[in-house]
Amino acid sequence: MRTYLQFLRRHPVWWVTPIVLYLGALLWLASLVARTPDNPFAYTLY
């Protein structure tokens, strides 16, 4: 536990980076979902 807490304190880049990547990946995927159509284009065409 002590080693883990020291890791958190001494090496923030090592754990902040994956959290940022995780949030970034979520937002990126979410933006793709938001762009995904609900209805087929053919329906609006015909």
Binding site: T3, Y4, Q6, F7, L8, R9, R10, H11, W14, W15, T17, P18, I19, Y22, L26, L27, L29, A30, S31, L32, V33, A34, R35, T36, P37, D38, N39, P40, F41, A42, Y43, T44, L45, Y46
Partner: protein, 523 residues
């Protein structure tokens, strides 16, 4: 000084240990975020339809209404239409209407009134679960969940959207590069964190409909190259899905009413391709013959109905062109026009569609409606001059030559059908127009193949009195001159005018009533 400041520097951590701790920290962070959202009751994944747009069996179509215990509401329209609220099951006979946009447009209150008038005690409860754009694959998933509503009768009107739906499935797979990626994201969407991110993204990103026209047009291309040997595979899927729906409903103890679907015979095929083994030189001959043939058709018979060049395209009407579901501002602008479109004279229909025109108020029409109807009027009046008859005969000869090369070329069959119709050959015209729809590589309305599946399935259940079928297509054709369904009845490829839908659903009421009576007997 704090202890941490004075603690000795840790020994250099191995990289593997650092990675492990980093992963652990990320997991803890994700779990804390998820827990916080759950504690606050935010971004509930159950309150969102599957990201697969309903194609996954994980899609949750019904959610309990916390404000009204026992009541559920649908989540399938994404704001396009109001969701359907289903109250707790009571003594009334519960009827579910399942299907596509045609079903969604059925007047369920009127059906319920008709049924209630015939059997007021205990009465009926008609719930319309039709969803525009849906085909048999998603209706099957929806029905499996809808059976938890304990219906007495399930009515299925479905068959126009098989290729529309599968085209959309391809579109989705293409957008996500593979179905697997979409499934993976769908799985992630079980997390509240993911749903919160989607809510944020939806609030800031422009919706799909706001995309440029060029990107929208790409979406229509999914089946442009489809050949008929692959088309038939989709009919097998339809057959399997429809059969499964009947089985599901019967296993749940519900009676089933099937119906054939009503197509517009004057709507041209959506996709016409040649067999893959047709030599390039033969294709060139076909294009040349078609060019000569179509160029000979007098313009008054083809404008908006037959495509002769990329510029002179076919008019595909939509319900909004007639004023149905049109944006209010657009509708107001149409009503403010000084000149109201003059409705042309089309064919007179027989009972139950006889009487004044069934279409909407011409003040609500877009400019495309009178443009296409004027051509339709010229066609159905069938009064070509002698010169025009000669030209049409030349066209027929050349189109026949095309058909000797490629006998199932859908658009050629359609064009020859119209020419035969203009020349007064009713039987030939009907045969060709039916064939055009049946050989369409990716039809956007029902045809003889689709309706044949419905009839075949009904025949397989002939010994089960709780599976019935109404051949709506035949009943409607009997009311149309020459047995051909046109714009007198239809708004577009597959949707009846609002007024015509009342007469159509009247055809289903007696069978629904019988199935409802049988359900009461079983109770």
């Amino acid at each position: 000084m704090p202890v941490v400041e004075t603690s000795p520097a840790p020994p250099n951590l191995p990289v593997a240990r650092r990675l492990l701790y980093a992963a652990l920290t990320t997991l803890l962070f994700a779990a804390a975020l998820e827990g916080a959202l759950a504690a606050l009751g935010l971004a509930n994944p159950a309150a969102r339809l599957s990201l697969t747009r309903g194609f996954s069996t994980r899609a949750r179509y019904f959610v309990p209404d916390p404000a009204q215990p026992g009541t559920v509401h649908t989540q399938m329209f994404s704001g396009d239409s109001p969701e359907v609220v289903v109250p707790p099951r009571g003594p009334r006979v519960r009827v579910l209407l399942m299907g596509e946009s045609s079903t969604e447009g059925f007047p369920e209150e009127y059906i319920q009134e008709r049924l209630d008038a015939a059997l007021p005690d205990p009465g009926f409860e008609v719930i319309n679960l039709g969803r525009h754009g849906y085909g048999s694959e998603r209706v099957r998933i929806l029905l499996a969940q809808a059976l938890e509503l304990h219906p007495d009768v399930v009515f299925i009107y479905l068959g126009h959207n098989e290729f529309v739906e599968q085209g959309f499935a391809l579109e989705l797979a293409r957008e996500w590069h593979s179905g697997v990626a979409l499934e993976a994201v769908d799985w992630l969407a079980r997390l509240r964190t993911m749903n919160a991110a989607i809510e944020v993204a939806e609030s800031i990103a422009p919706g799909p409909s706001a995309r440029p026209e060029s990107q929208q047009a790409e979406r229509a291309d999914a089946f442009r190259e489809l050949t008929y040997d692959r088309t038939v595979l989709f009919y097998k899927v339809y057959r399997d899905n429809l059969a499964a729906m009947v089985e599901l409903a019967r296993e749940a103890g519900a009676g089933v009413l099937l119906s054939t679907v009503v197509p517009n015979d004057f709507d041209p095929p959506a996709v016409s391709t040649f067999p893959v083994n047709l030599p390039e030189t033969t294709r060139a001959d076909v294009f040349r013959l078609r060019g000569l043939a179509l160029g000979a058709i007098p313009e008054r018979f083809r404008k908006g109905l037959i495509q002769t060049s990329p510029e002179a395209g076919v008019i595909h009407l939509r319900p909004s062109d007639w004023g149905e579901l049109a944006p209010p501002a657009e509708l107001a602008a149409r009503r403010a026009r000084a000149a109201v479109p003059a409705p042309p004279e089309l064919r007179a229909l027989s009972a139950p569609f006889a009487g004044p025109p069934l279409w909407s108020d011409p003040r609500d029409w877009s400019a495309a409606v009178p443009e296409l109807l004027d051509t339709c009027a010229q066609v159905v009046q069938r009064a070509p001059t002698e010169d025009e008859r000669r030209l049409l005969s030349v066209t027929a000869t050349r189109l026949n030559e095309v058909l000797t090369i490629c006998p199932d070329h859908p658009i050629t069959l359609f064009e020859l059908g119209l020419v035969r119709y203009l020349l007064g050959d009713d039987d030939g015209a009907a045969r060709l127009l039916h064939a055009a729809a049946a050989y369409d590589r990716a039809p956007t309305h029902g045809n003889d193949v689709i309706n044949g599946v419905v009839r075949e399935l009904a025949a397989q259940h002939a010994d089960d009195p709780d599976v019935r079928c109404v051949d709506a297509e035949q009943l409607v054709r009997a009311a149309c001159p020459e047995g051909l369904v046109g714009y007198e009845l239809m708004m577009d490829n597959c949707h009846l005018h609002a007024q015509a839908r009342y007469a159509l659903v009247d055809m289903f009421v007696p069978q629904l009533l019988e199935l409802g009576r049988a359900a009461l007997t079983r109770r």
